[in-house]
């Protein structure tokens, strides 16, 4: 089984650390990349692509120095190398307009406001992983225990 990558971007180190702890239970099936800026994330994306590592989910903060989260996700949305990757905006303070832009232009799959709850973020990440695995057409059986069941049923019905 190939490990799925989850890329977390937030300019605050302590937020990344908190995310890492909350998502720890996925360790057996996932590997994590942590980045403190959008620029750094872009370097990591190039590496992932070069090494053909499947990137399942991006968890991205909105307000960051340099390129902000929504700008990054809009660019990422147009990146053909990661067309199946699910995008997830995790933000402390996004205006109504930012959110609309994120949905319309970056086509984010999920949006959560900080502070988050562990159960909540785990469920969302599982849903997104399931969507990724099924839409790429990976062997879902090997990831069964971390897949979101209801989402999986939808894919398996047909």
């Amino acid at each position: 089984m190939e490990k799925l990558t989850i890329l977390c971007i937030d300019d605050q180190r302590d937020v990344l650390a908190a995310l890492r702890k909350d998502l720890e239970s996925l360790n057996e099936f996932c590997r994590f990349e942590f980045c403190e800026s959008a620029d750094e994330a872009e370097e990591v994306l190039d590496e992932l692509d070069a090494e053909v590592i499947p990137l399942a989910v991006i968890v991205c903060d909105h307000i960051m120095p340099g390129k902000n989260g929504v700008e990054f996700l809009i660019e990422f949305n147009g990146d053909a190398r990661f067309e199946h990757t699910r995008k997830f905006l995790l933000t402390g303070m996004a205006t109504h307009d930012d959110t609309i832009t994120a949905i319309n232009q970056a086509q984010i799959n999920h949006y959560i406001e900080k502070p988050w709850e562990k159960e909540q973020i785990l469920e969302v990440v599982k849903i997104l992983i399931t969507e990724f695995v099924m839409s790429v057409g990976m062997e879902y059986q090997s990831y069964l225990s971390i897949l979101h069941q209801q989402t999986l049923y939808k894919y398996l019905r047909t």
């Binding site: 897949l147 069941q149 398996l156």
Partner: protein, 471 residues
């Protein structure tokens, strides 16, 4: 790491077998072709058990190896010994390749078309709603209803898709159960068990049935309708038993359950075509003795109708479970090799089967089947065991009086579907286990009991069939 190790083990052993001199193998009169086939068989066995690659890939590999090693158009290096006394009988490459499109495969394809169209036009979910209604809201009866609906659907749809549909229906309800209500377990187990059991109900219910059908030819032939005549009662009995067992083990405490399914029967012309074709196909399968078309030809009706009416589109076609079809094809090719090369005959001669009582052999075969199917793919188990048992049945002198090929093939075929003790036993089990409502131990307990009782049920059914003169 473990994947690689599995791959190495599964490849190394067959290679060793392939490279030891033929004379060293303690089987009387073994030909070179048969020797190679043993290597292929061992390879298939290990690959299917350890699964370093998906099971369908192993099937493709089996077919490929047969083509290059033991066909009439094999690779030049494998033809060097051709013409020598003990080279043996090669297979026709056309026949090997034809396994991809054998009538049995097309019968299954017909089943896929029916299921896809039904799902696409929400026939399945609407039927589920109607069927479930009479069962009310008492949890015990809702469970029975769900199990019956699941079983009936899995007779025509894949067990996996049926389970996915039913779990999707029941999951929101289960989430409302109070913590500590053991009833949740009953529901989460009832659906996969019913799907497994229901698969027995028709020849197209599950791939092992298809493989069994393949060997029920000539004088042993069984029609679609005949199959259902004895398998549906068996399904109902096992289902009732499973229901009672689950109620005893995990009695639901919640006073009532309300399974809400949204929707209405669709009324556009495509839907009507789906309803009519669905009904017609099943009726034609059941009453093949009236119209003369066998079940394979009837299977082409939904394929044709749905294609012509664009109910199944080009895009839909791409979503056919080709892996299941190829898995079965590989099994047929392997069986064909075992049979035509004479390997099974030689094998049986080398083991003193005749000294055992035929019924003991039957018992042994079903036990081996159920153990294998518990740990590996049911279809792969059928692929490996049914061809051998089919030949064994004809060559054992004592077997004929108990029912011969029919008896053995049906027993082994049914046994494949009765393995449900572990999450890895079947995809429905895995899915239900992943729902998080059940412990492996709970599945093991109930699953083992049902497997055991199921085997007894099969024996009883076979006994009854013998009594009524079916064999």
């Amino acid at each position: 790491m473990r994947e690689k190790l599995k791959f190495v083990i599964a490849s190394a052993l067959p290679l060793i077998i392939l490279n030891i001199p033929t004379e060293f193998i303690p089987i009387q009169g073994l030909s070179i072709v048969e020797h190679r086939l043993i290597a292929i068989f061992v390879m298939a066995l290990l690959f299917w058990v350890l699964e370093p690659v998906p099971v369908f890939a192993t099937s493709v590999f089996v077919i490929f190896l047969e083509l290059i090693m033991i066909s009439d158009k094999s690779f030049v290096l494998f033809k060097e010994a051709a013409g020598t006394v003990n080279f043996g009988v090669v297979l026709s490459y056309k026949e090997i390749m034809a396994t991809f499109a054998s009538p049995i495969i097309l019968l299954f394809l017909g089943g896929f078309f029916l299921a896809m169209a039904a799902t696409k036009y929400q026939l399945d979910i609407n039927l589920a709603r109607v069927f479930l209604k009479p069962f009310g809201t008492k949890p015990a009866f809702v469970l029975l209803g769900l199990m019956i609906v699941t079983a009936v659907f899995s007779m025509f749809m894949s067990n996996t898709a049926t389970t996915a549909m039913m779990l999707a229906i029941i999951s929101p309800v289960l989430a409302l159960f109070e913590k500590g209500d053991r009833g949740r377990v009953a529901f989460a187990l009832g659906i996969p068990f019913a799907a497994n059991i229901g698969g027995i109900g028709t020849p197209i219910g599950t791939p092992p049935n298809i493989i069994a059908m393949k060997y029920l030819t000539g004088e042993s032939v069984i029609s679609f309708g005949t199959w259902m005549c004895f398998s549906v009662p068996l399904v109902l009995i096992l289902l009732t038993f499973a229901w009672l067992l689950l109620l005893v083990l995990h009695k639901p405490q919640t006073p009532s359950i309300n399974v809400a399914i949204k929707g209405k029967f669709r009324k556009n012309w495509q839907s009507l075509i789906v309803y009519v074709t669905f009904t017609l196909t099943i009726l034609l399968w059941l009453f093949d003795f009236l119209h003369g078309m066998n079940s394979y030809i009837v299977a082409m009706i939904p394929v044709t109708v749905f294609s012509m009416t664009k109910i199944i589109t080009t895009q839909d076609l791409k979503r056919i479970n080709w892996d299941v079809l190829w898995l079965v094809s590989g099994g047929i090719a392997l069986g064909m090799g075992l049979e035509k090369s004479g390997l099974v005959g030689h094998l049986i001669e080398s083991i003193p089967f005749a000294s055992f009582h035929p019924l003991f052999i039957l018992f042994l075969a079903t036990i081996i089947t159920i153990i294998m199917a518990t740990f590996m793919s049911n279809t792969a188990t059928a692929n490996l065991l049914i061809p051998i048992m089919a030949v064994l049945a004809t060559s054992l002198p004592g077997m004929a009086q108990y029912g011969g090929t029919r008896l053995v093939v049906l027993a082994v075929g049914f046994a494949c579907s009765l393995a449900m003790a572990l999450p890895v036993s079947t995809p429905p089990n895995a899915m239900a286990h992943a729902s998080g409502y059940i412990e492996t131990s709970e599945m093991m307990k109930a699953g083992t009991i049902i497997s055991g009782v199921g085997i007894l049920g099969v024996y009883t059914m076979l006994f009854v069939l013998k009594q009524v003169g079916f064999f």
